[in-house]
Symmetry: C2
Subunit: 395 residues, 2 copies
């Protein structure tokens, strides 16, 4: 028996464990202080009413002989795939129904899609970014190179012709930086991918926060993307499904490599190794795209957007550089006073009672930066923003 020793190469991540320890120690030393958490990447607003009703109705159906649903299509029910088709068509992107695969969330598909590719490929991962992209490839044994980003390029890396990569991760709007690509910038990535015969894995989990019409909400808004990209998306942020688990992956018919059609391969993978998303969850997800669903969802998104604005305004007033916050729930700020990420974490906790996430936890290029999120309670976010402004102004 030979184990997969690549698991031994994973770096243990203590980021959120270390944060929890520091916060607990601080709270113990200062039991009177109210700590406000702006570090969380999880949503907090409840599911929309029409989503709850759709789920309850579907559960009732499942309790009747006539309405019972057993095994469904592994790639999702037509009613949900058609609703997603409509969501994309509404912004001018045409997809075929069988290019859409319903999943239990972006995290699963981001890992599982790698099974279509040989381990002998080079993977380009932006720095800083969601750490799972790296771990998913370390466990498979792929070579990873990093696309370094910085304040100078607005934390939006652009292709470098001297670098050869086979699999390219793009997360736009990015977690943690909130930076989002324009269609023109993405076009450069599409051209690079086509020239290098690479495949782009495009993580669009935060597309719903985009309001600026110059920014792409899907890579398929870019010409040529259908020949080189897979898009992975989720209901987690648009509809608060982090605990309800539904997402979707788009694999265009045109995407072929080494004579293999990736849409057919992914269908084969999913029908072999997955058994679909709960019927009740698919019904709930479809309700998101109804008229009342979209209205309720937008009200939730506006709640988070307002939080982002409150934080961004406070940083503007103290002249702190940041990106994100406008088309993203994340505000990525340069630590004031030249502080390093963890220094600022301690300073912010000590001086404001506010918890955020040290940027260096998302990659080396995050050192000296810090992530705040808009997913908190509105009132608490206002208090936090005022405390941050007051404290930074004393620096």
């Amino acid at each position: 028996m030979k184990m997969n020793h690549h698991y031994g190469e994973l770096k243990a991540s203590y980021l959120f464990v270390d944060i929890a320890h520091k916060v607990a120690a601080y709270q113990e030393a200062h039991p009177e202080k109210e700590i406000i958490r702006l570090g969380i990447g999880d949503v907090t607003q409840p599911l929309a009413k029409c989503v709850v009703t759709a789920m309850q109705d579907a559960a009732a159906e499942m309790g009747t002989k006539e309405g019972f649903h057993g095994y469904g299509p592994e790639q999702g029910y037509p009613f949900l795939k058609q609703a997603i088709q409509g969501y994309y068509a509404g912004r001018g992107t045409q997809l075929a129904e069988d290019e859409i695969f319903i999943s239990d969330g972006a995290k699963s598909d981001l890992a599982n899609v790698l099974g279509l590719f040989d381990v002998d490929n080079t993977v380009l991962v932006p720095d800083p970014v969601y750490p799972t992209y790296v771990d998913d490839n370390v466990t498979d044994g792929r070579k990873i190179i990093y696309g370094r980003t910085s304040q100078e390029n607005g934390f939006l890396g652009m292709p470098d012709d001297s670098v050869k990569a086979d699999i390219i991760y793009i997360c736009s709007p990015n977690n943690p930086t909130g930076a989002a690509y324009t269609r023109e910038q993405l076009k450069a990535w599409v051209d690079y991918a086509k020239k290098n015969n690479a495949v782009i894995l495009y993580d669009a989990a935060y597309e719903c926060f985009i309001t600026d019409p110059a920014l792409a909400r899907s890579i398929f808004e870019v010409e040529g993307a259908r020949e080189c990209a897979i898009e992975i998306c989720s209901f987690s942020k648009i509809a608060g499904f982090t605990g309800t688990r539904c997402g979707y992956t788009i694999v265009p018919h045109e995407l072929e490599r080494e004579g293999m059609n990736l849409n057919k391969l992914w269908l084969r993978r999913q029908t072999t190794k997955f058994n679909g998303v709960p019927y009740v969850v698919q019904r709930a997800a479809a309700a998101v795209f109804t008229e009342s669903g979209m209205a309720e969802i937008q009200a939730n998104l506006d709640y988070y957007r307002q939080n982002a604005r409150v934080i961004a305004d406070a940083l503007d007033e103290c002249g702190v550089w940041y990106c994100g916050g406008k088309n993203s729930p994340y505000i990525w700020l340069r630590c004031p006073g030249g502080m390093k990420s963890w220094e600022f974490f301690d300073w912010l906790l000590e001086n404001c009672g506010v918890v955020g996430t040290p940027g260096v936890g998302f990659g080396e290029c995050g050192e000296g930066y810090f992530r705040l999120t808009a997913f908190g309670d509105a009132e608490k976010t206002k208090v936090a923003a005022q405390r941050i402004k007051a404290a930074i102004q004393t620096l």
Copy 2:
């Protein structure tokens, strides 16, 4: 870009497609005939009332700020893991809570667990069996050997010391044969696995059909199994969750290979590449283990058991050899008159208007055998059994 060419080595499975074509052609030629389907492996009884209620209540919770659940533990909520602990303890098997990992079903975990093992391992798969075990390993490129079974050994293969395997699949009660191992038989497998440093992947999806106290419902009823086995189980058959998607995998603390602890590895795999099962589904699954839940579930299981009995009685009356049917929803019969599997399929459709599944579709050793299932409607199953008996008696 190099693709995973092992996908090209998968054999296309036309089994259920071919069956559908044959049935459609027959129905078209004989529009007046009522066709009864005893080929399905999917449940048909609705979810239990208390399961539906638990799901609806959980959905209502998710619609409130206080009751909302975002990201949950990837390995499942304690309330469900504790309920499963109680289910096992009730039959004398003690498990630690953190040995239980909640999944979206056995199919996902059966595929994903292979990621813990190197591709350079030899896999022993029984023949006949659920075809996915083979496909999961073909796509990874592992060497597969088959454990041939036959009527002589009751379709229950026993270890052969001249065969060297690293990963051993056991499905008990087996799909498609319905044959189930006693604890003594499993002990031989555990001894073999320990001697060969192998790991057993034990698929217990049909354990709920076992009533004979000599048969094992979990491999962990067998001494030594904690050092060599992973058990994969599901709510699909016990509670009709084929469209609701929940299962669990048990990885004991004692299981170590090459200095790696498989419980810790699986935790790392799941926290990296999976984001848990919907909160509402976990609440629904927990309701299965309440007093009223177990009562409702048993009524459903008894419905299927009665169907199995009706079919088995008919076969007994015509002297047809079969196994399964008593501790399994599957009846695996020897095709009468020396017919081959597909011959009997055509004969059964033509003479009885009954659809089943040719045994050869589950492996070479299934040739000459045939699977009928107990998941159909009770009245239709009775009619089918009468037709089968009458037709076989004319042979």
